[in-house]
């Protein structure tokens, strides 16, 4: 059976499903192919389930802290207990609800969902093994949104005690000792959650620092949290191999000087990055140009093949859901004849560690490297009333604003602190609108909120913050 359509979207992640909904809204006859449930890595085994797990872990840790020592007059007679199966079922409930929401939205936009694995024979034709047999789809436009998969380490293939983030998000029971290889944001988010749930956690990182995408000033509060909570971090150290021991396994590691060490582990979580999902669906038959490990596109997400488009993780860094979503919407509109271009001033990056880290735009170091003369202002959470009232003032959190010295144009805002991720939207908006420091502190921010730290950081850059000594 051959089906024809105007737009074929390959992959139902945050890039693909949004492209499909928008295409449907614009009246384009659209099919989306997804082998799993719609929602992609983000919704099924990434952003959303990890946030659910992180939230639950925070709750569990808070209850534990009250059981250990009464605080705010709240005490618990006994330590809380954790039912891992129940926790995972709750998390799955969140995922299910969102997944059903996405599929409902697709149907409402009159998008046909084909369940199965697409395999392309040429740039515009694919076959899908569906539950009801093989289906051939021929499309005028193809949007590739196949996303990315976790990178494996050659010496530590996934399987058995070596797991990826996917397995770490659906444990049947928690390991007593978890060693995480790779202290980027995925490893840190999961490791911190596991630590809060009571596991003994340690990190092995090849670079001399954690969270390499943020600067030292921003990662210090996270390092301090890890230290306070007894999480060992082996920096400039390489994981060699996993060996069996009497009571489980041990990961052999070597530091920069060549000194060897064996870390006892019940599980090893490998989070050393993700690679574009290019294999196993016939990309090689589509005659599109590649760009290193990615598919090459222009600023409208066009590939080298006419009417074949690619978005999201498949086309490169940053591998972030919100980038893919933006591109998906854009490509659908371009196909419908609108003029659009991927031209953001900033793509925010958020890290749900303890405390949270957010970054938009240039850091002071990056601005300096571009030869821009800057002014930089900082404002600590410890001086913000709302932060103190919600126990978020004591972790070294702060907001840092970076602006041009000549005209005070905002170049970047970075922050670390509890709940700081929710400020990402205002930060991005400020950069997209071309805000100056004066715009930030010329805007009345509601009191008492964490957002009040923003105008104060801007004022601090000009040397006259109100609530700290300048």
């Amino acid at each position: 059976m051959t089906t024809k359509c105007k737009v074929l979207v390959v992959g139902g992640g945050p890039g693909g499903y949004v492209a499909a909904i928008r295409a449907g809204q614009l009246g384009l006859d659209t099919i989306i192919v997804e082998a799993d449930r719609c929602g992609g890595t983000c919704l099924i085994r990434g952003c959303i389930p990890s946030k659910a797990l992180i939230h639950a872990a925070g709750r569990f840790e808070a209850l534990n802290s009250h059981a250990r020592k009464p605080r705010m007059g709240i005490s618990l007679a006994a330590a809380p207990t954790l039912d891992v199966a129940e926790l995972i079922a709750w998390k799955e409930g969140v995922v299910d609800r969102l997944n059903q929401g996405v599929e409902g939205l697709l149907k409402r936009a009159k998008v046909r969902i084909v369940g199965g694995w697409a395999s392309f024979s040429d740039a515009k034709t694919c076959t899908v093994e569906t539950g009801e047999g093989e289906q051939t789809i021929r499309a005028e436009h193809v949007i590739l949104a196949t996303g990315s998969v976790a990178t494996e380490l050659p010496g530590l293939p996934f399987g058995g005690p070596v797991i990826s983030s996917t397995e770490a998000l659906s444990p049947t029971r928690l390991p007593a000792r978890l060693v995480i290889v790779g202290a980027g944001y995925i490893g840190l988010e999961l490791g911190i959650a596991y630590r809060k749930l009571g596991c003994e956690v340690s990190f092995v990182e090849a670079l001399p620092r954690i969270l390499p995408l943020f600067d030292r000033e921003l990662t210090r509060p996270v390092e301090q949290w890890l230290k306070r909570h007894g999480v060992a971090v082996h920096l400039a150290t390489r994981a060699k191999r996993l060996t069996e021991t009497d009571d489980g396994h041990a990961l052999e590691i070597t530091d920069a000087e060549g000194a060897r060490q064996r870390l006892p582990a019940d599980q090893v979580l490998v989070t050393v990055g993700r690679r574009a999902n290019r294999d196993g669906w016939g990309l090689e038959n589509m005659a599109v140009d590649l760009d290193g490990p990615f598919v090459r596109v222009d600023d409208q997400c066009r590939t080298s093949m006419k009417n074949v488009w690619a978005i999201g993780d498949l086309i490169g860094e940053p591998m972030l859901a919100h980038k893919a979503t933006f591109q998906g919407e854009m490509v659908a509109e371009i196909i419908a004849g609108h003029r659009r271009r991927f031209d953001p001033r900033a793509i925010p990056a958020v890290c749900f560690t303890e405390p949270e880290v957010v970054g938009v735009g240039l850091t002071p170091d990056e601005a300096k490297a571009q030869g821009i003369d800057t002014v930089v202002g900082r404002f600590p959470f410890a001086a913000n009333g709302r932060a103190l009232a919600m126990e978020a003032g004591g972790e070294g959190g702060f907001v840092r604003a970076t602006a041009r010295r000549d005209n005070h144009l905002l170049l970047g805002v970075h922050a670390v602190g509890a709940h700081i991720s929710e400020l990402a939207g205002e930060l991005s908006l400020a950069l997209e609108m071309g805000a100056r420091l004066e715009d930030l502190f010329g805007t009345i921010h509601a009191h008492p909120t964490l957002g009040e730290t923003l105008p104060e950081a801007a004022l601090s850059a000009l040397g006259h913050a109100i609530h700290i000594a300048n």
Binding site: G155, G182, E284, M305, M433, G434, R436
Partner: protein, 432 residues
């Protein structure tokens, strides 16, 4: 070592196959990236294909001259590294070299920042992943997303719009002002388009031109005419004309010449009903006069030019052309032509390629008359020269006949006495 299969790309607009014109490589050649591989041809263009990889050529799809399907393998390479063939699961893209160097690479996903310094990571054996193309973390123009979108929709490059907002930001008011300013001071790119429905006379012209060019194999022939003798006669006649006689242009002389010429070559004074496969030759000569009017091109007709003398032809020509311009011409006056003359007067140019007035089989175009230096008796001489550009329906009129017809007209126009001497030989113009 791996194999890399280079598939024939879609080089045109949804074409299914290309013709392989020429190979630039042979089996066994070492090829560098971007080196030219082959020339292929679609129905629209010739395209040179270049190599996406460096490697050794193992196989070519076909000899030159054959058709190749888009998407089929064109060249098979042996390349360093895994290639794209027989590699269901290529090595991880971070490319750790050997099993010995087991270590976390630097590449935890890095939103925004470029890949971390490679020095600390075991990536030396593999090319570092490039950042996504054309995705700048920060553009140059300072304007809000709404302003940028409005500019894109209006086809305006914001880099040209002066920003009067804080820090030089381009505000909505700046963009509106830029759009409203007439483009006098600085030229700017325009992207506006205007669409018209093709109706009325324009639609008729479009249909007739299309039908003519689509179905008739045009044969065009250009010859130059020396006008000195004719101009002397014309000036004399114009100077001494009676009050009721019209002023003579070149066209009435051409009309008389045409009448005389088609007596000898009746093939050209004909219409061809190509659906019925029937040619109709006419005893009368009904000359269509292609005329530019305010509404567009019209072809009023001087009927029975063979029954008119020079003066009558001149008068009738003037009358029907004016009727066409005034929009008072009757249907009869706008139809029934058997051969057509087209003249752009002073705009005649050197050469034109007239489009036949279907179903006619001949059309004569008049180019501009001007003094030119010509060779006469081994010397340079200045003569009044003019070209005739004619087209014929090659299905009905052979090239030889067409040339003979034009040469006959040339002979009469160059020795105008022949116009008025029926039966005179018409195979020679003025001696060169």
């Amino acid at each position: 070592m791996g194999h890399y299969s280079f598939k024939t790309p879609d080089v045109g607009e949804g074409i299914v196959e290309v013709e392989l014109i020429d190979w630039h490589i042979a089996v066994g050649d070492e090829v560098t990236e971007d080196q030219a591989l082959a020339d292929v041809m679609t129905d629209k263009a010739n395209v040179e294909l270049s190599s996406p990889v460096a490697g050794r050529v193992l196989k070519l799809a076909c000899p030159a001259g054959e058709m190749v399907a888009v998407g089929s393998e064109l060249v098979l390479f042996e390349v360093a590294g895994p290639g794209n063939e027989d590699e269901v699961a290529p090595e991880s893209s971070t490319g750790e070299g050997t099993a010995e160097t087991v270590a976390p690479p630097a590449g935890t996903p890095s939103p925004q920042a470029p890949p971390p310094t490679p020095a600390a990571s075991p990536r030396a054996t593999a090319p570092a992943p490039h950042p996504a193309p054309a995705i700048a973390s920060r553009g140059k123009v300072l304007a809000s997303p709404a302003v940028r979108r409005q500019a894109l929709d209006a086809g305006i490059d914001l880099a040209r719009v002066p920003g009067n907002g804080p820090a030089g930001r381009i505000t909505h008011a700046d963009l509106d002002a830029y759009i409203a300013t007439p483009a006098t001071a600085t030229p700017r790119a325009r992207s506006a388009t205007e669409q018209f429905k093709v109706t009325g006379l324009r639609r008729v012209i479009a249909q007739k031109m299309q039908a003519s060019k689509r179905t008739i194999p045009h044969f065009s022939y250009v010859e130059e005419i020396e006008l000195d003798a004719l101009e002397a006669l014309r000036n004399h006649l114009n100077t001494n004309r009676a009050p009721d006689q019209p002023k003579l242009t070149l066209l009435p002389f051409l009309m008389v010449a045409l009448v005389r010429a088609v007596e000898r070559f009746p093939q050209a004074n004909a219409t061809f009903d190509d659906e019925a496969g029937v040619v109709t030759r006419y005893a009368g000569v009904h000359i269509g006069i292609a005329t530019q009017t305010d509404q567009g091109l019209k072809v009023p007709v001087v009927h029975h030019a063979e029954s008119c003398d020079l003066w009558a032809n001149a008068a009738e020509l003037q009358r029907v052309a004016e009727a066409a311009r005034d929009n008072t011409a009757t249907t009869a006056e706008l139809s029934g032509s058997t051969i057509t003359i087209t003249s752009l007067g002073k705009l005649g140019g050197i050469v034109s390629t007239p489009v036949l007035n279907k179903p006619e089989v001949a059309i004569i175009g008049v180019n501009k008359a001007e003094d030119r230096v010509v060779a006469r008796d081994g010397r340079m001489a200045i003569r009044r020269m003019m070209n005739l550009s004619s087209s014929f329906d090659h299905r009905i009129v052979d090239g030889y006949v067409a040339a003979e017809l034009i040469q006959a007209i040339k002979a009469m126009l160059e020795r105008p006495a022949l116009l008025f001497l029926p039966g005179a030989a018409l195979d020679q113009g003025v001696p060169r």
